[in-house]
């Protein structure tokens, strides 16, 4: 029932690929607990079946006498499971300590979770919505949330840590496999919890696809791209796309299609023109003016976004006529 011989890059019956250094250790402990469990399950079920068949009721006479307790037996079946679980605790605990204690040298990426998207901030200040990391390097993530509790979960890394508002949490991993892996939000966070999914892209050490190359290329987008294209990139990377469509459909937030310069009705009854000031204010103080029919769920970007990015974004919004 178990296919434990994992091929690199493929999942098994139980697990996705092992794409981080820790994964094999976690899996090994899982399989140890699994074998112990299967052994005891089969043992008990076999004995149970034998008893049910062998001692099935034939008549109403009282059964033969048998002991109502047996000290040796009782000690044995208490001590053996105890020894096994003590080992499980010890192995799980030591591995957990190393999971929670990052090595001295790590490449630190900031993670900000919000309803319902992820922002990853690299040491040079660049922000993306997909996590990019170098292979074979210790990467640590310093995480916090803008609104409710989320959870950073990369099954291929066997890593999970809640992202809590009002404080930081940390996690670290060492990717061992180049490729793309799923990154989920694992703590229920409201309407689009199940769409708060992104990718981890693990880059090779060298070559044109290397992490370094990617970061340099990607960080430069404001100067390289036209304002509209740069704005589109901001729109995607900052997670705007999670709630605001550009095709006219209404999501958790209003669509951006064809709204520039129009008069918009707010929840408090006032009317506001969709212009540069309104967009800027809505990014920095999203709860100040909420469109009628929508809930005030957008997180603030105050202190998290560069002014150039807002300018580019405005150029992009203008283009959506």
């Amino acid at each position: 029932m178990m296919l434990t011989l994992a091929q690199a890059g493929e999942g098994t019956f139980w697990f996705p690929a092992q794409a981080a250094e820790d994964a094999a250790k976690v899996d090994d402990l899982f399989y140890f607990v699994l074998y112990v469990s299967v052994f005891f399950f089969l043992l008990i079920m076999t004995i149970l079946s034998i008893f049910v068949i062998r001692y099935r009721r034939r008549d109403d006479s009282a059964p033969q006498k048998s002991p109502s307790h047996n000290t040796v037996l009782e000690i044995v079946w208490s001590v053996i499971p105890t020894a096994l679980v003590v080992y499980m605790f010890y192995a799980g605990f030591t591995e957990y300590l190393s999971k929670r204690q990052p090595p001295a040298e790590t490449y630190e990426i900031g993670v900000t979770a919000q309803k319902w998207s992820w922002n990853f901030t690299y040491p040079n200040g660049h922000v993306t919505d997909v996590l990019h990391v170098p292979v074979d390097e210790n990467v640590s993530v310093l995480m916090t949330s803008e609104d409710v509790i989320h959870s950073f979960f990369v099954p291929a890394f066997r890593e999970k840590m809640d992202v809590v508002p009002g404080r930081y949490t940390k996690a670290w991993f060492k990717p061992t496999m180049v490729g793309e892996f799923d990154l989920f939000c694992a703590e229920y966070c409201g309407t689009s919890h199940s769409e708060m999914i992104t990718k981890v892209v693990v880059h090779p050490q060298d070559g044109p696809d290397s992490f370094e190359e990617w970061l340099r290329e990607d960080s430069d987008f404001l100067s390289k791209l036209s304002p509209v294209d740069a704005g589109k990139k901001v729109y995607q990377m900052r997670g705007c796309a999670q709630c605001h469509s550009t095709d006219g459909t209404s999501g958790n937030g209003p669509t951006f299609k064809g709204v520039w310069g129009t008069e918009r009705r707010m929840a408090d009854g006032s009317a506001v023109t969709f212009d540069e000031n309104y967009v800027r204010e809505s990014i920095l103080q999203p709860k100040a003016k909420v469109l009628v029919g929508y809930e005030p769920v957008m997180p603030t970007f105050q202190g998290r976004i560069k002014d150039d990015e807002i300018t580019a974004l405005i150029a992009f919004l203008k283009s959506l006529q």
């Binding site: 009782e74 957990y96 229920y188 409201g190």
Partner: protein, 559 residues
């Protein structure tokens, strides 16, 4: 449900049973009789279970196919929240203690009633009152916070959080009243001769459960009260946007809600201890170990709440302490399983329906308990936490464990409660269908979770997970048919079942000394106390199907 007077009632007078002794809805709703209160609870929690089951069916049908089928994301979030909240607060927590326990506990003690009959009725009324709030939640925007009400989401959610929290708060008091009643009843109402270690194990289980109800439930009460306070004023105790601490909320919540898991499973284990012994006609093996392990589980159960928080940002020290203590609970649980097995050794095992449920319980609880080891182990829990692995694990414990034991107990005491035998064949088939359906529904969730499917997801990655979800949905429907079969079989017995003898199974505990169904005051005279697990002096009369004591039977004491 006509008046039933079996030939075995000790007294010669003809006295109507508790169902027939008075008529009219008032004689039920204002009754102080523990048996009627138990029956009312049974009806009420069954209705809740049906409602919770409908929500579950909704969840599974939506997940049959990855996209939006008939509810949107918000609708799905409501479904799983209401499924959890209704099942936990309205069904499983009161399930065995308030319905079966209420009926059986005084009978097992040879007593006329519980210590505080008015409080018992108040408990039922509080339950009804709490349930009204849940109905109000359904009618006023629903609830989408998850049954756990985690802050800060529950502080800012736009749904009826306050109504739901108030409902759960009131239900908590209902549970506390039952707990106080059972502790005092067991302490003060035991007949002469029934020492602590001559008590049936069901009573030990109820006692351990009551300890948890009394110690843990008030903390849920204050937690929900502070949550409502937080929502109303933004007091800043649990909401980080006001300087509060959401992890503190989780400590508060799980200080109740982990022990609450033992409110669910201890009574189940207690029922299984009775069933295995009676249907093997063997004294329970290691009586004292089972009794002690119940209390040990109850007390240790308070020390492990932090294992719900290994990935929450809880500190490493706390995680280590809670993980170690979590494993310590597994030992008394394992001991119970071994004891049940040893009880069957050289027994005379009957596969009557209650025993089928007991065996199903052992099978399912073993899986539920063993998969708990993966979650107690810190490093594997980091991967498995908040995935379908956890969903499968706790359903194996709560449904596979508690529900199956509840059904076993219901089939065991049904003849006592209503004086009718049900169709063995129909009951056994329903049991097997439910068992198969349950496994098909929940086993696929173990690999599904280990592969990385997070829980509470409305949408999932199609290519990877679709077959698991479809299997689970098929199993759920099958489980539903099994449960439907059980309802039909039991209800039919009320109309056309054979009259039940006083002791159809050969049980040695005192409830079988009462008539089926019992008279209003349970016994004409308090019956003599016998060893609850001595079966060799019970003989079956083939004509009536009744087991009665032979002359050789010497009571432990007479009263």
């Amino acid at each position: 449900m006509s008046t039933t007077q079996t030939s075995v009632a000790v007294g010669a007078e003809v006295e109507p049973d508790y169902l027939a002794c008075s008529k009219g809805w008032k004689s039920w709703l204002f009754t102080l009789d523990h048996k009627r209160i138990g029956v009312m609870y049974l009806i009420a929690i069954s209705a809740s279970f049906f409602l919770g089951g409908l929500f579950a069916l909704g969840i599974r049908l939506e997940l049959f196919h990855p996209g939006e089928d008939f509810v949107d994301a918000d609708g799905y979030n409501q479904l799983f929240t209401l499924h959890g909240a209704v099942m936990v607060f309205l069904f499983i927590i009161p399930g065995i203690p308030a319905a079966l326990g209420n009926f059986v506990l005084p009978l097992m003690l040879g007593a006329k009633d519980v210590a505080f009959p008015r409080m018992n009725l108040a408990s039922f009324w509080l339950w009804m009152f709490g349930a009204v709030f849940f109905v109000a939640v359904l009618a006023s925007g629903g609830l989408d916070t998850g049954w756990t009400f985690y802050t800060p989401y529950s502080v800012e959610a736009q749904t009826a959080v306050i109504a739901a929290a108030t409902g759960a708060f009131i239900l908590g008091f209902s549970s506390i009243f039952t707990g106080i009643n059972f502790i005092v009843t067991i302490h003060k109402m035991r007949p002469v001769g029934m020492t602590w270690f001559r008590m049936p194990l069901f009573l030990w289980g109820m006692y351990a459960t009551a300890i948890i109800q009394v110690l843990a439930t008030p903390v849920l009460g204050i937690t929900l009260l502070l949550l409502v306070f937080e929502r109303l004023t933004g007091a800043g105790i649990f909401d980080p946007n006001n300087g509060g601490d959401p992890i503190l909320y989780q400590h508060f919540f799980w200080f109740y809600s982990h022990p609450a898991v033992y409110i669910m499973i201890l009574p189940a284990m207690a029922i299984v201890s009775e069933l295995v012994s009676v249907f093997s006609r063997k004294p329970i093996f290691g009586y004292k170990m089972i009794a002690y392990s119940s209390v040990a589980i109850a007390l240790l159960g308070f020390l492990v709440w932090g294992h719900h928080m290994f990935t929450s940002g809880e500190s490493k020290v706390a995680a280590a302490i809670f993980s170690a203590l979590t494993f310590s609970v597994s030992i008394p649980s394992a001991i119970k399983v071994f004891n049940w097995l040893a009880t069957m050794y050289k027994g005379s095992i009957s596969l009557a329906t209650p025993m089928l449920y007991a065996l199903a319980f052992i099978f399912l609880f073993l899986i539920g308990g063993l998969t708990g080891l993966f979650l107690g182990t810190l490093s594997t829990d980091v991967h498995l936490h908040d995935t379908y692995f956890v969903v499968a694990h706790f359903h194996y414990v709560m449904v596979g464990g508690t529900l199956f034991a509840f059904l076993g107990g219901l089939h065991y005491w049904w003849p006592k409660m209503f004086g009718r035998m049900y169709s063995e064949k129909g009951a056994a088939i329903s049991c097997l269908v439910a068992f198969a359906g349950f496994n098909i529904a929940f086993f696929p969730m173990f690999p599904l979770g280990a592969k990385g499917m997070p829980r509470r997801y409305w949408y999932y990655l199609e290519q990877d997970f679709i077959s698991y979800h479809q299997l689970a949905t098929v199993g759920t429907v099958l489980l539903g048919f099994g449960l439907l079969g059980i309802v039909i079989v039991l209800l039919r017995s009320l109309k056309s079942g054979e009259k039940a003898p006083a002791n159809p199974w050969g049980g040695a505990t005192m409830e079988w000394d009462a008539a089926s169904p019992p008279i209003h005051h349970n016994f004409h005279h308090t019956p003599p106390v016998h060893d609850p697990y001595r079966f060799d002096d019970l003989r079956r009369d083939p004509a009536t199907g009744n087991y009665s004591r032979t002359d050789a039977a010497e009571p432990v004491s007479s009263h």
